[in-house]
Amino acid sequence: MTQYLIRRLLIGIPTLFLVSVLIFAAMRVIPGDELSVLFGQDEGAAKISDELREQLLADLGLDKPIWVQYGMWMGEVATGRMGSSFWRDESVGEVIARRGPISAQVAVLAVLFSYIIGLPVGILCAVKQDTWMDYVGRVMTINFLAIPNFWLGTLVLVGMIIYFDWMPPLEWEPFWVTPWTSLKQSLVPALIMGSAQAATVARMSRSSLLEVMREDYIRTSRAKGLSERITIYRHALRNAIIPVITISSVSLGFLLGGSVVIERVFQIPGLGLSMIEAVQDRDFVVVQNLVLLYAFIFVGINFLVDVLYAMIDPRIRYS
């Protein structure tokens, strides 16, 4: 088991390396003027001389050979600074340290909501299979799977502004400073993000639970006279939840990446918004580092899921 886990960790390294190369290459081959943000965009732009352009590109380090640029970036990643943004007055590491917890807070809350909402719905649908409760549950889950969360978020935001004179606060309160205020700020966007995840959790848990409930040991449990509650929650659910954990854990990674849209809608100053700003500004360094960070999170989460598997199900022992 230990050897397996170590191998899993080591395989993550070439994965991250490949991602770094891909995103580094992508940033350098996409069309567009890196300097357009410097001399105006919406209001018009001004011509600059070739000499000045070369000087500005040199200031950004873009005149160096590709492998030198890549090596310098990797060196910055190794030191944790992760490079200097082209256009920000802080390093990428500082951006991540400042905005990362905000995105993480919303994403974790979203996953929590997905369980709080999705698991009971899924259990109810499975236990009451083919009843009106099951049908309603399934229709709702399909709806929330189909509805794009940016549309839902916009709808909720507009509705709250119009009917409750509420809009997301302009200044984000850090959780460790004012926890309750911070949680209130995260509530609505986390609910929006969690809605589609909740639907996924509900459907997965329903189908998984239905499968488990047909097992012999469940029939035995009932035959022994155990209550339905104990049969479901102590015996069936524990086995049924394994695939649900897999799905929702991977979803956490998607939530961090998919938060781009919700952060834009709700003006949450998280990493997703940083990504949008960096793409618009052609800030290579920020984009590269954020993509690498997301890849790292995905690799890490997948690893943790495997560990969690083994903890939940003693039968699972990796070799």
């Binding site: 050897q3 390396f17 567009g32 003027d33 600059i48 001389s49 000087q55 007055d89 100053p269």
Partner: protein, 616 residues
């Protein structure tokens, strides 16, 4: 640890091979793209001199009556390499001293509330912090409260830009019209406690006029008449000109031309891009900020204008459009700028009691540019043909379908109070500016045929994605009228300007920026061969001469005549087609915030209005 299985080793080998292939591809592509997309070189040195004619220059105060010998105007033609003209003011003409008013005259008012924090939402997503290198209002919002200029514009009348006193009390124009002496305010200190004096002005202007390698200077073109700025004494600076400049005080009053201390400039090697807290002299001092989120500024208790500012703090949030409207209407800010079309209209309509809204000219223009380096648009007959056939009212309507805009022409009707612009009634009778008549269309077709394109052609039409409705409308008109088929290429700003500078296009729709709507200021930025915003690389000596003449003359009948002739020339040769003048929409909470609407309509670009704003 168990050894890796053959299968896993193979996978790793494949991954390594893929990575190697990618690096090889990158290395090959980097050698091709090593020459970054280059901006077209300025084809000719800047036009060195204006034509040698004209009278004394006195931008604000009337010149003393003095006989002036008028040199004959040179024939229209090339004026490059023309020697600097001799002084044209009458021998012995007296210097003209001007002591302009300031928008802060009469402040502080006893009736105005002192203290409090105003929250505003404006575009504040600045990419760097050097106002001299910036051409975007994103710098204006958070930074302008921290600085002053020598002069700023007084909000006397909508669209009329009268330079007002700020760090300079006034100026004296020399008898020959070739130098301006500015008298500086006394007792001014920067936020770091250092004293403000002539050395700081000289250093700042040197940065603008002679930027160091790797440093941009977006307003350098506004000072092309200035050879140098020198110190006369600690409280007097002299602008030494190579020709008369009728609008120099206005150019100085552009809000981006903030004064910074010499010590700060030297410390930062004259590049303020990373300096978010470079000390200014302004009414507010930097506290802290989170980039693209919020700027916190506090009152400068040692501000040289006694009793100002009224406010204790400013909180500048970044945002525009729907976010700006939502932030205002939810009570989180007192003032919002750049609302979407319609949001401000609803406030005006009374849908939100207690709130007020206003519109204001953005002082940009949008236009169709022709690539003058390529056929068919190197032929002025082709350009004029299109000019005659396209209905500008249709173009404006297409713009107004999604944004706010007003009718624009060579001198926007709204600028300078309409002093130099043709009336809408006159334009309605002028070919090219009116809805095309049958005669206009026939003339257009005849011109196109005479140029050799009577049977139609194909062109590349470059567009930015957000403005494609006008582009599509234009393309349709070209096809229906002339049989010109347009290959539309739509892209975002970064890719768009990349393509513009590459020159691989025939026609495009672009926006140019100007600060106060003066014809000299607009045309100098756009129409001269050396203009930084001459997207189409248009070059015509006649236009250069005309622009330089307009720039040389002070406001008055002679200038009006020069502008009128220039406009007629531009109508003939059509370097570009002006489409509209965008309009911005701001709004504020009238129950909490005391705002001078007139000031804001004229001076968002240019003005430190926060120093006389207050809470109610």
């Amino acid at each position: 640890m168990r050894n890796l299985t053959n299968g896993k080793f193979t996978v790793l080998l494949l991954v390594g091979a893929l990575v190697g292939l990618l690096l090889f591809v990158l290395a090959c592509s980097s050698s091709d793209s090593a020459a970054a997309p280059s901006a077209p070189q300025s084809a000719a040195p800047a036009a060195a001199a204006a034509s040698a004619s004209g009278g004394p220059g006195a931008p604000v105060a009337p010149a003393k009556a003095a006989a002036a010998e008028k040199a004959a105007a040179p024939a229209l033609g090339s004026v490059r390499n023309t020697p600097v003209p001799q002084p044209t003011r009458a021998v012995g003409a007296d210097p003209v001293k001007v002591v302009p008013a300031s928008w802060t005259d009469g402040h502080p008012r006893g009736s105005t509330r002192v203290g409090g924090t105003v929250k505003a939402m404006v575009p504040a997503g600045l990419a760097h912090h050097d106002m001299h290198q910036s051409v975007t209002f994103n710098n204006m919002g958070p930074q302008i409260p921290m600085y002053n200029g020598l002069l700023y514009f007084n909000p006397d009348e909508y669209g009329v830009f009268t330079p007002g006193a700020d760090l300079a009390k006034g100026w004296t124009l020399s008898g020959d019209g070739l130098s301006y002496d500015f008298d500086l305010q006394t007792g001014v200190r920067f936020h770091d406690g250092s004293a403000f004096d002539a050395d700081d002005v000289v250093a700042t202007m040197d940065k603008i006029l002679n930027p160091k390698e790797g440093v941009l200077s977006m307003r350098k073109i506004a000072f092309d008449s200035v050879d140098s700025v020198t110190k006369v004494d600690p409280l007097t600076v002299r602008f030494n000109l190579n020709r008369e400049d009728g609008i120099l005080p206005k150019s100085i009053a552009i809000g981006f031309n903030v004064m910074v201390s010499k010590d700060t400039l030297e410390e930062l090697d004259y590049d303020l891009r990373p300096a978010f807290d470079a000390p200014g002299t302004g009414p507010f001092k930097y506290m802290n900020h989170k980039q693209k989120e919020v700027w916190n500024l506090e009152k400068n208790a040692d501000y040289f204008k006694d009793g100002l500012p009224y406010l204790d703090r400013l909180k500048i949030f970044h945002g525009t459009g729907a976010a700006a409207a939502a932030a205002l209407l939810s009570g989180q800010v007192d003032y919002s700028a750049w609302l979407n079309k319609g949001d401000g209209d609803k406030i005006v309509a009374g849908d939100f009691p207690g709130y007020k809204s206003m519109t204001w000219g953005v002082y940009n223009n949008t236009a169709i540019w022709f690539n003058s380096n390529r056929k068919p648009f190197d032929d002025e007959r082709v350009r004029r043909a299109i000019f005659l056939a396209v209905d500008p009212h249709v173009m404006l309507a297409l713009w107004n379908s999604t944004r706010l805009g007003d009718f624009g022409e060579w001198v926007p009707p709204q600028s300078l109070g309409g002093t130099y612009s043709r009336s809408l009634e006159e334009l309605a009778e002028t070919p090219g500016w009116r809805t095309p008549t049958a005669e206009d269309v026939q003339e257009a077709k005849d011109l196109m045929a005479a140029a050799g394109y009577g049977e139609g052609s194909q062109i590349q039409f470059l567009a930015r994605g957000s403005v494609s409705s006008q582009v599509e409308g234009m393309a349709q008109i070209l096809e229906e009228t002339f049989g010109i088929e347009s290959e539309l290429s739509v892209s975002d700003a970064g890719v768009y300007y990349d393509k513009v500078w590459s020159g691989d296009w025939d026609i495009t729709r672009a926006t140019w920026t100007n600060m106060f709507g003066d014809p000299c200021e607009i045309w100098r930025n756009v129409l001269r061969a050396d203009s930084p915003q001459n997207y189409g690389n248009f070059q015509d000596d006649r236009v250069d001469v005309a622009v330089n003449e307009v720039c040389r003359l002070p406001d008055g009948p002679e200038r009006a005549e020069s502008i009128s002739k220039s406009v007629q020339l531009l109508d003939e040769i059509v370097p570009t087609m002006v489409l509209d003048w965008p309009i911005g929409q701001n709004a504020w909470n009238d129950e909490t915030f005391e705002l001078n609407p007139q000031a804001w309509t004229t001076n968002y670009w240019n003005h430190n209005i926060w120093e006389i704003s207050a809470l109610k």
